[in-house]
Structures are given as C-alpha cells and as structure tokens.
Symmetry: C2
Subunit: 313 residues, 2 copies
C-alpha cells in the first residue's frame, strides 16, 4: 500500500497544505489565508477544519509543519515566528496531535525547504546537498547522507550569516559583513538607489513612475533586461558575492548538489553568470566540478512538500 504524507507550510500571508506521495509528488493541495491577528489556537483549529475537507486525509498518518522562526523541532514548540507575532512558545506539535490524532513533526521553513528541494528538484537522488534560499533574507538548509542536518540546536544552515567581509555592512544579527547584507532584497534596493545618485537611470525611473521607493528586485531584473547600467551593476555586484558564498560552501562542504531557491532565485541571468564566473576563479576545481548547482523549479512548493517529508527525517 502506498503511503501519503501531509505537509503544512505556515507563511505570513498564506498557509499552504498539501498531500504528497512517498517521493514528495503533490497529489492534493489547498490554501488558507493566515490570520495573523487571531489566537494561535484558533489558527490551529482552522487548519484542522481544512484538513478534514481533504480527500486523502483518511489515508494520512503523519503531519509535518514548516514555519519561519525559532522552532524547537524536538519539543515541537514555536518559540518565536517573525511572520506570526502572536505565536510565542506555542506547543504546536502537542496541540495538533491532540486535535488530529496524528503524529506531528515541526521544523523551521529553511529546513523544510531544503527537504523539499532534495525531493522535488533532485528527486531524492543527492547524497550531500546545501540549499541556499535567496529572498528578503538569505537562508538555507543542509542535507547530509540524504537526511536533514540540524546541528547541535537546530540552527545549522544559517547561510545568510556567513561573513564575506570582515568589516563589511552591519547585519541585523549583530555581525558585520554577513552575505545577507550584500544579496538580501533590502541591500539590492539600497545599492540601486545609491548608484542612482551618481548615475541617472531613466529606465528604472520609468518602471517605478519616478518613485524610488517602488524599486524591487523584480524592477531591477526588468531594467537589467533592458540593459540599464545601474541594474546591471547591482546584479553584477550581488553575483560576485553569491559566487564567494557558493565557493565557501563548495570548499568547506564539498556537496554533490547545491539548490538555489527563493524569491530572487529567478532574478536574471547576469546574477548567476557572474556568480559562476567567481566560482571558476575561486573554488577548488574538484569541489566545483563534482557539484551540480541547480536553480529550483519549485520554489513556491518546496516548503509544503518538504514539511510533508519531515517524517522521513
């Protein structure tokens, strides 16, 4: 008999729910708007109602939940979640097990995305993989010997906080020069507005109707496609830093696969071409040659599919 797994990806705007097969193929899915003002127990009850409406629900024995923030995956507690300000020290595993009579696993969304990438992008055919999530922040997850590697306290894979400049940009985490401060969304936008003080960019200004506050990575990608000097500079500089990060991952971890996912992972060719050139210049040849770097095709599904597969970890 086939096994089915259920995943829940709790985002700040949407809660995604999916039933997957043993190889993480999604066979049923639904969504729920996230009510960030509601009490956590109300949100949990709404989720359970939604689960009961699923066609495959009766076949489900295990549930996995991915959620941003400081998650105690052993005790099943959401200590803190930036997207859900009311969720502080919530016994999510216990509550959900009580209400569903199923076994529940929880973990942070960077880890569930890494598991998702392992199954959806690599079809489970990797041994040692690092997932790099590029978005507002830079996150990640590590798969070693086909299993999620959590480290001593579950914080392994904080890729965004690898230092690439000793005395570089100040980071929210307290450190200086974290990679996140060079390729995170905020920095890309800031870097564009700074450059625009020196170089007028009619292309960007037209795309944002002269409102610099409207600059986003998407706008910068559009401008780049139109050969805009500032946009090209921004992506080139970010690409160089991404290449340095990937070099550190290659030299240190020698993974067989790196999967890049997240909001800006489809940014544009220049960004990745520049990164790959840096790897050619910088990384150990054997480490670079033996690693396949993949841009995820499933970014929006990784969290929910990976959550479902938590039971296998």
């Amino acid at each position: 008999m086939l096994n089915y797994y259920l995943g829940i990806d709790m985002g700040g705007t949407q809660i995604k729910i999916a039933v997957v097969t043993e190889t993480a193929k999604i066979i049923e899915e639904t969504v729920l708007d996230t009510d960030v003002t509601a009490k956590p127990i109300t949100v949990i009850k709404n989720i359970v109602n939604k689960l009961n409406s699923l066609k495959y629900y009766s076949k489900i024995k295990n549930i996995g939940v991915g959620i941003a923030g400081d998650i105690d995956s052993v005790k099943g507690i959401v200590r803190f979640s930036p997207n859900l300000p009311k969720w502080k020290n919530i016994y999510l595993k216990k509550e959900l097990e009580r209400l569903t009579k199923r076994k529940v696993f929880i973990d942070n969304d960077a880890n569930t995305s890494a598991i998702g990438a392992f199954w959806l992008d690599l079809k489970g055919k990797a041994t040692n993989m690092v997932c790099v999530a590029l978005g507002t922040g830079v996150g990640g997850g590590i798969i070693i010997n086909k299993k999620l590697y959590r480290g001593a306290t579950g914080t392994a894979g904080e890729i965004g906080h690898i230092t690439v400049e000793s005395n570089g940009n100040k980071c929210n985490c307290g450190n200086n020069g974290c990679i996140e401060t060079y390729i995170g969304v905020k920095h890309l936008v800031k870097s564009a507005t700074e450059l625009m003080k020196k170089h007028k960019s009619n292309i960007i200004l037209k795309l944002v109707n002269n409102d610099k506050n409207k600059i986003t990575p998407k706008i910068l990608s559009e401008a780049c496609a139109k050969n805009d000097f500032v946009a090209k500079q921004v992506w080139k500089q970010a690409g160089e830093k991404l290449g340095i990060l990937l070099t550190t991952i290659l030299n240190f971890m020698n993974p067989d696969h790196i999967v890049i996912c997240g909001g800006i992972s489809k940014a544009n060719k220049l960004f990745f071409e520049t990164a790959y050139k840096e790897i050619d210049k910088r990384a150990f040849k054997t480490a670079a040659k033996s690693c396949k770097i993949v841009i995820s095709k499933y970014t929006s599904k990784l969290g929910v599919a990976g959550s479902a597969m938590l039971v296998k970890n």
Copy 2:
C-alpha cells in the same frame, strides 16, 4: 576480546606508527625517519619491517594511514603529496595490503587528525565536530553524527579556503581572501616584518639576533609574552580573523564541538582571547553557547591515532 588498531602518520620528516585501543588510546608507538628521496615502494617496505617489530602486531587486523595531499580514500591512491615529491599516483592501499595481509584504509591527514581529535580530545563524546588545524596552512575535518564527513570527492573540510575578505590577500589556491592568507604561518611572519617597518621592535630583533628571516610564530609568541607592540598586533589581527572563521563555522554548521589543533594552536592567550571576543560579538548566541571550543592537548598524536581509527569510518 579487545580490538587493537594500527595507525601510520606519514609526515615529511617522520613516519609515526602507533597501536591504539578501541577508544584510540595509544598503547605502543614508534617512529621512522622519512626518506623523501627513496622510491615509494622502498618506503612502504621499510614501514612493513617496522610493523613486524611491534609487540602488538599479531593482534592487528586493520591498518590506517594518514598522509598530506590529494588522497583517493576510496581507491586507496596517493595522487599527490606535497611532503613526498616522489609519491605520485601510488597505490598505497593495495601495496600495503599485499605486504601486510591486513585490510588498509588511507585518508588525508586533515581527516585523520579530525578523527584523532574526536577520540583523544573529546573521548568520542561529540556528535557533530569541526576540527580546525592551524599551521603553515589552515586545514580541517568535519565529523557528522560521529563519523568523518568526506563530501562528494573527499575534499570536505577545506577550512583554510573559506573566504573572509572578498578582495583580500591572494592565496596559493587561486582565490582571494582565504582565511589561510590571514592566519597561516607565512602571513603571521610577513605581517610582523611589515609592521616592523613602521614600529621598531627591539624585543623581536633581540630574539632573532637582528635577522628578520628568523621570525617564526614561536618568536612572535615569546615577544608577545614580553608585551612587544608588534607581536601583540600580529596576534590580535590574526585572532580577529580566527574569530570570524569560527563564527562562520558556528552559524553554518552549529557543531557541538570545535577542536583547534596544529602548530600554532598553542600560540598564546591573546590570539584566542581575541578570537573568542569576536565570536561573542558576531556569532548566533545559541550556536555559540551550544558549542564547546577545545584547544587540542594531543596535536602531535592526532594524526597517528586518527589514522588507526579510520577503520571505524
């Protein structure tokens, strides 16, 4: 019945041989001078002769060998070893198995040292450990779930080639800004001579009889103990960079232990105190708090003891 394991640490000047218990305790040891001019097969035969003279040799079923360089641990080939210029594509495993009638395992010395640190310094009581070897170069090894982690092609743990400055010092590996170019022996010495152009250091000059070519990390440690300005600067700057490296390891790997070994791991207090201050400033609090950083007490024995334990990996 107790099991005994035999390790061989092939260095450029000495070949260390030891018999260890199941917990890597050394119970018999001997050394052999390394004849770098001899043919590899001659060196191998000399080793076998030495093995035959060991009291415990009859109890040995497995032999492990650690050797610097590019080692294919799967096929058992020494592709290249910087300390042994005549060793190119040598089937060390096959030859040694033929001559000893024992099963032989080989790996590079950074990996065997990591295994040694896991057993000797941590008594096997760690789960996820990173070993940082500070010497002429900066090397390392990674233990995950109590086993050596080799990565896709056996080059995992190249800690010396983690980038800490995007456009930093040129490294032999081709990259810029590798940590090795800031805390390797060469850089420490260079950094001292550079500083001495601006700041006269009578203490260092006295220690080297006015011959700046005689400056070594040991001299710099002695001068530092005598409160010499230049020496203190050198160790402080190196300590800052070491702290940045350890922060990256903590944030990325969240290990329960880091063991620091190698020639300059006993350098001096200022070096490590500065590094620990950087960690306090820079690293994720949970990652830093949950990791015990240990300075190895067994630097000279790690390679040989770890080689003996290769059979368990």
